[in-house]
Subunit: 607 residues, 2 copies
């Protein structure tokens, strides 16, 4: 077990090696932007999918809608840039909303992001797997298996630590960007040199029958699903090399520019080439085929697209554990999420994220596409909350140049809010679950917090009940026969100078009772023996009743009751199967049910 | 949980209520003979299946082969009758072989029967399920689910206790016998009154081209698979009402007569009506259809056949736990098989049998038919061994009339041995696994026995190492802070008049170390504090090394080391998720790895 763990995860790292694990800008861009960049692979398609319900003539609307998405992107990038500098220790939507708007908005933002990262992993890995199984149809029946394997691999990479995963992840992200730039470049070159017929598309401004504002809004909302993932960098500032905020801000800008270029390029080519969405083939694949034909470049583009979709899941792995740490530090989720593993990653968060997304993949048989709207709205709710939080912050603090800052965040907040509302209005049938699980999660957060506070009060010396002084000790020793282990336990009990020692024997049949009492009185007449006949062959039940009686009497004079349980431990663990686990059962029962101290005297068998 | 168990299994019974659970003859016949009687449903068909490989003209050989099987049956019944009286406390093949032939033959017999009962359950339930799904083809895709459900139901019935299951089981067994008697009676009546053409079959003695001795032996071996299950009664004598041996012997005779009549009737009708085996329809079904047409009687016969096949599994449930008790009393298998459950049945044996047969059913997708030869040979090996054992017994003891007894058991042994050899010769491709798992099981039996003996020696006061006297006590108290639980544990440690108390604190970072030492020295300067910095953030590792050091020093002067572990226990069990289970981990690690006494001081949270 230990060797396997070492092989998969690597040697443990010392706490002070933490600094060495931090990210430079190039690696950070790879780790934190794969989610955002990969959405270029499906964002433009989402717009066309809505427009095609009217007619292909409506496709020219993708240009103004695309411009709208770019404006939204610019607003978000500028807003998040301000957040990075204002919250250099990691300003996720949770922290920003909590500090400026209050606990409840903070928890709503945190809760929806937490769920969202799980969706990110499930949706991205499933989409990537689909890309692969489309290329190799024989693999189609193994979709779930392949997707789960990917999740497991990514989980292991992340457990090894964030830098090492970055080294591996850097290639596909840059390859993907490189491939798409070539595609867009060659595409534009073909258009400008007149190699493409200008009649494939309807001119911008052509009137279209049946187009409605509702439909355009729906198309815009769908297109803005390409912006999921832009918040990842602002959550992960502590992972950057110093000066962290500056490096993070530059990485954010680089990502914004990349995303804007790729997105506009794909939207424009799709429009100019008159691409129509097709369930058998993605829009990117159609553009690539028309531009290159089915040659090496086509497969290069398809391959890097599949790869980056799978790796987009990694954004979830960077962001989820950090958000979980913030929530756990505030005691809204279990404390175990704050513990660093052997490789200094927050292993519990990584493992839980992997497990939950595997559950989602299996539950939806790897067809998680219809979770996309749910996942997009789960991003825009915290977007809105954190921008609103920043507005409140600027108004309250009024730093130098605050008016400009306020304007930027206000625009960000308004657009995000509008998009959220559009999602609810145009895609309610896919989005309603958010109205159930969000309140549920927030309620759970509160319950957990309350529990931790109650525990704290009961443990803290200044607030807990006073400790009862111990005036004396009563020892109860259950015995199953006269053996070496019993003798050792008895000697131990006597060495503790307890005030009273009671051996307890539980016979299942009447005859055993007298026989054992005789034997005992011959062996150790100085130790009091109590026999508790058990006609129903239960050991716990009569023992528990007896302990209650002793405990009641003992408490009257502040005596402490200790139950000493002899246990012999076989040399090899399979041998445990050969012995009734009575000692273990008694110990567990007493610890959880009775207010007695439980002492186990082990006897390690030597053969 | 407890309520569910009570509902399914019934209220617990006192040990002395055991007598009331015993079987009268009528119920015993039902419980213990369903396996043997149900084989009438497939035994005759097995003979025809071999003969048809030559030609339908060879079917007349089923009559002499049937007579051979009847002779074998008579020999077995008479032999087992002698075993019942010789071993009134339950003379399974295991006991008889062990006492007369030695440990190894006993274990071979016991081991093959143990596996056989699991096969009985899997094969019978699958066959019964097939009968049902043949009648209702829509159910076909649910074969495994239906079979598993049946096993679960039978397991629950048996956990409720043997008499109650008998009451339910009595009806189908008697209905099945009744249905077949009507079928045979009406069939014979039709033949005698000339309603059946006498030309459907070839006359006995017709020469058949291509028939060989090998083929006839194979047919005979196949037919004797109808005799599996006749040993069940001799294993289960302790389940009978007094006088147990006499009642058991009468039940055995009744079962023998029933089995002989039904078997001969079906073989004869199949021959006379010229029935040919057909993968779509069983032989019994064909006879019934020719005799009655597809009317109520036909469905009655098919229904009771399906039912008895499923219930034949119950024989395994009666026999397996009793055999397991015998093996466990001799310490060849884990002792837990000797423990009676709430309803006085040997629950562990019942549950293990149910689980293993479910595993077999799932592994073979409910198609366990090709396990039949394996299961038949697994019966004839112990048959041979127990008859040989009886021969040795008579020769050694020479009681009144021993020559006759010796002759009967010798015939039994010879025939059983011959059948076993025939199985190996004619059906080796299906039977070879027995040559692997039988030695494996016997080896396992020996390993287990050796372990129990070693444990006994180490625990028994007369043979174990002398107990080391305890000259003093050292207490180690790992602390995670200055809290109520730590204060209670410290008070407890002090009340034990230990010679030395050492509090241990394990900081993950250097700064914590000094801060905590200062706080501690203000709070309890009288108690020695040791801090063990842990740069790799492990608690177990530094603690374990420290305990080793203390333990080494303490042992030099016969001091006993006790580790006191403070543990707070949340009010509700889900709240355990919110706390790192460090106490539990430390306790488990220390108990299994170190020779120290572990004391847990629980603190039950009140809110």
């Amino acid at each position: 077990m230990a060797a396997l763990k070492r092989f998969l995860i690597g040697r443990p790292l010392k706490s002070k090696e933490l600094g060495e694990q931090k990210l430079n800008k190039k690696k950070a861009l790879a780790v934190l932007s794969s989610d955002a960049l990969s959405s270029v692979a499906y964002g433009p398609e989402q717009i066309l999918l809505v427009l095609v319900t009217v007619s292909t003539a409506a496709f020219w609307y993708s240009i103004p809608i695309g411009i709208g998405v770019l404006i939204l992107l610019t607003a978000l990038i500028l807003s998040y840039r301000q957040i990075i500098f204002a919250y250099p220790h990691g300003g996720g939507a949770y922290v920003v909303s909590k500090q400026n708007l209050g606990i409840l908005p903070g928890l709503v933002a945190g809760g929806s992001l937490l769920v969202d990262y799980i969706l990110t992993v499930a949706v991205s890995v499933s989409a990537g797997t689909d890309a692969i199984t489309s290329a190799f149809p024989v693999l189609h029946e193994h979709t779930v298996g392949i997707a789960v394997t990917f999740v497991i691999l990514i989980t292991i990479l992340n457990l090894r630590g964030v830098t090492e995963s970055a080294s591996i992840l850097a290639y596909p992200v840059y390859l993907f960007a490189f491939a798409l730039f070539i595609l867009i470049g060659v595409g534009l070159h073909n258009i400008m040199t007149g190699h493409v017929s200008p009649n494939l598309h309807t001119p911008i401004g052509t009137p279209v029958a049946g187009i409605s504002l509702f439909l355009l809004l729906k198309a815009f909302a769908s297109g803005s699903s390409a912006l999921t993932g832009v918040e990842a960098i602002s959550n992960a500032i502590p992972n950057f090399k110093d000066p962290a905020p500056k490096n993070a801000a530059r990485t954010l800008m680089a990502m914004g520019v990349l995303l804007a270029l790729l997105f506009s390029g794909i939207v424009f080519l799709a429009y100019y080439l008159g691409i129509s969405p097709n369930p058998q083939e993605t829009v990117v694949s159609q553009i690539a085929k028309q531009t290159f034909g089915r040659n090496f470049m086509y497969f290069f583009i398809q391959g890097t697209t599949a790869l980056i979709l799978v790796l987009a899941a990694n954004t979830g792995y960077s962001a989820f554990p950090l958000l979980a740490v913030n929530l756990a530090k505030d005691r809204f989720i279990p404390r175990m999420f704050t513990v660093r593993g052997d490789r200094l990653g927050y292993s519990n968060g990584i493992i839980i994220l992997g497990l939950l997304s595997i559950v989602l993949i299996i539950a939806f048989h790897g067809q998680t596409e219809h979770l996309i709207p749910l996942y997009a709205v789960g991003v825009f709710i915290p977007f809105t909350l954190s921008q609103t939080g920043m507005m409140v912050k600027w108004i309250r603090e009024k730093p130098a140049g605050w008016v400009m800052k306020l304007i930027i965040n206000t625009i960000g907040a308004l657009i995000s809010f509008t998009v959220s509302v559009m999602f609810f209005v145009t895609k309610f049938p896919q989005i309603w679950p958010v109205l159930i699980f969000l309140p549920l999660i927030v309620y759970l957060f509160h319950r957990i917090k309350k529990h931790y506070e109650a525990v704290g009060d009961q443990l803290r010396l200044s607030t807990c009940e006073p400790v009862v002084p111990i005036e004396g000790n009563v020892v109860i020793l259950p015995v199953s026969g006269i053996t070496h282990v019993v003798e050792r336990s008895l000697n131990y009990a006597q060495s503790l100078s307890a005030d009273q020692i009671i051996a307890v024997y539980i016979p299942f049949e009447r005859e055993e009772e007298n026989r054992f009492e005789e034997k005992w009185n011959k062996w150790r007449p100085d130790v009091r023996l109590v026999t508790l006949p058990s006609p129903y062959r239960s050991i716990i039940h009569p023992l528990s009743k007896f302990i209650d009686t002793v405990h009641r009497k003992a408490s009257e004079s502040n005596y402490q009751v200790t139950v000493i349980i002899p246990q012999f431990i076989p040399k090899r663990s399979w041998q445990n199967l050969l012995h009734n686990q009575t000692s273990l059962m008694i110990r567990t029962y007493l610890l959880y049910r009775k207010d007695v101290i439980v002492t186990t005297v082990p006897y390690h068998l030597k053969k």
